[in-house]
């Protein structure tokens, strides 16, 4: 299945793009998408314990199962205000 990954702030800079597509096996989770992303961009690894994720514009757990066409966002620690 094909998912769209969105990246923000420092994660976006490390990957060099705000958005990319990932081909993943059926039954993959957000954690699997993250692992595939870290495979492409090893510098992201340091965010393993602090990253949050959102699926289709709602916060989700890394254990969330993905569907073909899903939009997965990975968020570094936030600093609004």
């Amino acid at each position: 299945m094909l998912v769209t990954v969105r990246l923000f702030a420092r994660l976006r800079e490390i990957a060099g793009a705000p958005e990319l597509r990932l081909e993943l096996p059926g039954g993959s989770t957000a954690a699997d998408a993250w692992a595939a992303l870290v495979g492409r961009h090893p510098e992201l690894k340091g965010y393993a314990s602090s990253v949050s994720c959102a699926v289709n514009e709602d916060y989700a757990r890394m254990t969330a199962a993905l569907q073909d066409g899903d939009d997965v966002a990975f968020l570094p620690p936030v600093s609004g205000g």
Binding site: S52, Y59, L75, P76, P77, V78, S79, G80, G81
Partner: protein
Amino acid sequence: MPQRFRVSDQPLDAADVAAAVAGAGYGAVAVFIGTVRAHNAGRQVRFLEYEAFAPLAVKSFERIAGEASRRWPSAALAIHHRTGRVLIGEASVVIAAASAHRADAFAASRYAIERVKQIAPIWKHEHFDGGEVWIEGATADPQDEAARQAALERACS
């Protein structure tokens, strides 16, 4: 009536945010304005560049307003956050909390800014004399009950 929850790259207007929660039943509107400071962690800040995941940020503001209205049933919130380049002294966030009486308006506005900092998908890119850095605060987790309690305690202290 102006929108209650908004992310925009345009300058914020506090009067507009307050107007979004105007109502005959309210006796108080507390308006919090977060502004860009010239100094941070020993650095001379030139400006901040804010990035947001706008649709999720707006949903986070709605969630925060829902949480606040469960704790302070008479309170209504409006939250506007700016994105893009924000200069020293300019507003990055404006929160208006309306309530029947002042105590709940002050508490709800304090709660809202604490929660914005915890769960809104927004990031500061600080440009200072000699460099730039992404500010990374809280790992965003709306289900983190301990964080929510901490925000409540700050609001009620």
